[in-house]
């Protein structure tokens, strides 16, 4: 009896996986295929951002880009795509209960799945950007090694943090509408303190608190280690960040499970 029910559970899980996949795919399509330029936008956005900062930090405020041996544009790009993916996961996640209301009210759906899907869709775009980045970096003379195999772990890490934070904020947003001002502030803070513009060592040296508090310092540093510098990743930060990510994700998961129904009433 229990074996049969276990097998049935397994089948339901397959359906659940399919469902998450499908909604992610559809989200991705909605985002990128409705425009004429489509997927190019996913790439164009970070590229243009990089161009602006590249110009500022290599022509106007040169000191910031000094001491970075690699091509500074590539250096920026590697950090920026990961950070932007996180911000987008968070912002999309935050609004999921609203944008997916048409489904929630019509078919019984596990709301967690909707958040996972929406972050998954952004992960697709991130992977696309990473491929573009790797090609560009190779063009600028970067050599790759087996260290690249750590990349999926870093992508997973962004996914865990992004979707977890999205789930938590989606509920908070309904009770505290003005949280969005604070979120913008935090996003800006993160933007300047995640080591997108400078090396992680600099942060460790000048502001160790940020180094230990902001998981993105470690994530972006590890991205650069395995792609730009071609050295082994920092295993301590990888482990610490994955654990942080898992905790945030589990917290978000439980927040959605316990509070989404009462939140729906206030929508």
């Amino acid at each position: 009896m229990s074996i049969i029910s276990k097998i049935l559970d397994r089948f339901q899980d397959i359906n659940r996986f399919e469902r998450i996949w499908k909604i992610a795919q559809v989200d991705f399509k909605r985002r990128y295929y409705n425009d004429r330029l489509g997927l190019i936008w996913a790439l164009l956005n970070p590229v243009l951002t990089v161009l602006v900062y590249y110009y500022v930090f290599t022509h106007i405020v040169k000191r910031i880009s000094e001491g970075i041996d690699q091509n500074y544009a590539i250096f920026l790009f590697s950090g920026l795509i990961f950070w932007m993916a996180f911000v987008e996961m968070m912002k999309k996640g935050m609004r999921t209960l609203i944008t997916k209301r048409y489904l929630i009210e019509n078919i019984k759906v596990k709301k967690e799945d909707l958040f996972i899907s929406s972050s998954l869709a952004i992960t697709f775009a991130l992977v696309f950007n990473i491929v573009a980045y790797l090609v560009m970096a190779a063009f600028f003379g970067v050599h790759y090694s087996f260290n690249l195999l750590f990349l999926p772990i870093l992508i997973l890490n962004v996914f865990l943090i992004g979707s977890g934070v999205g789930m938590i904020l989606s509920i908070i947003l309904i009770y505290f509408r003005d949280i969005s001002h604070i979120i913008n502030l935090v996003v800006m803070l993160g933007f300047w303190t995640s080591g997108i513009f400078f090396k992680a060592e600099l942060i460790l040296e000048k502001a160790p608190i940020i180094y230990y508090l902001n998981p993105f310092v470690g994530i972006i540093d590890n991205v650069r280690r395995i792609t730009l510098y071609n050295i082994e990743p920092n295993l301590v930060t990888i482990n610490a960040n994955i654990i942080t990510g898992l905790l945030i994700f589990i917290l978000g998961f439980n927040v959605i499970k316990n509070f989404s129904q009462s939140a729906m009433e206030k929508l």
Binding site: Q12, I14, N15, E18, R19, K22, I23, V26, K29, R30, N34, Y102, L103, I104, E105, N106, I107, K108, V109, Y175, F176, R177, D178, I179, I182, Q261, S262, M264, E265
Partner: protein
């Protein structure tokens, strides 16, 4: 022989907190705490002690004026809202709510909508692939499979939703003012027929409508809600008759 229960509601009440001063922001909540103002809200009771059993395979009507609590009741059945403490809701079977303008994403094609809805309700991609043609054919949308739904007419959307629900193996249908909107005679005949055959197949329909004709045509039993209370429950014709009488009375008064 007792019929199996599809949905059972026991002591279901629903109270909404309506905030008079809308303390939805951090600033307002903080000032409320500092000034020791108890946050201002009114309790609005939308449903009072609803007890009803809906049996498998039956068509059950819900009638009542606007604001009588019909939508709240449906939202509780769908588990979108939590009932107040003490209420027990039991549902047996996959549910799908059919309402105009809901359930389908206008920015997606019919194909994507079918897959999303189908897989949420619990079908595998394989199964959806098998029923896909039937859905499209029943809805008469062969030429528009890969067109975004936003370009569809109201009737076409309705047809799409109805046929997804039909073939997607939903066992309990919540039809929320779903009929009466379109004048498509051919589809109406089709859906009427589907209704009759579906009843044979043992599916459950819960029909919310302002049209007494629809309730009488499809339902054996009905429930009349007013101000969140059950006024009458029983034979559909008797309930609708009484409802219409009271409507006439109140019209005559005014």
């Amino acid at each position: 022989m007792e019929a199996a229960i599809a949905i059972s509601l026991k002591n279901i009440s629903k109270t909404f907190r309506i905030h008079t001063s809308d303390a939805n922001t951090i600033r307002e909540r903080l000032t409320n705490i500092i000034l020791r103002k108890s946050s201002n809200y009114k309790l609005l009771k939308a449903l009072y002690d609803i007890n009803v059993d809906i049996y498998k395979g039956e068509s059950f009507g819900i009638i009542g004026n606007n604001g009588s609590g019909k939508s709240t009741l449906l939202n509780i059945m769908m588990e979108t809202y939590n009932p107040d403490k003490g209420g027990i809701l039991e549902t047996n079977g996959k549910m799908m709510r059919l309402a105009l303008g809901m359930g389908i994403d206008p920015n997606l094609t019919a194909r994507d909508n079918i897959y999303v809805n189908g897989s949420i309700i619990g079908l595998s991609f394989k199964k959806i692939g098998i029923i896909f043609e039937h859905i499209i054919e029943f809805a008469g949308l062969q030429k528009f499979i890969d067109v975004q739904v936003k370009f569809y007419s109201k009737g076409m959307r309705q047809r799409l939703m109805f046929s997804i629900a039909m073939y997607a193996d939903a066992e309990i249908f919540l039809l929320d003012e779903f009929f009466g909107g379109t004048g498509d005679q051919e589809f109406k005949a089709k859906s009427d027929k589907a209704f009759e055959t579906r009843l044979v197949n043992g599916k459950t329909n819960i029909i919310v409508s302002h049209s007494m004709q629809i309730i009488r045509k499809h339902c054996k039993r009905a429930l009349w809600l007013e101000n969140g209370k059950i006024i009458k429950i029983g034979d559909a014709i008797a309930v609708t008759d009484e409802y219409l009488k009271s409507q006439n009375k109140s019209q005559n008064k005014s």
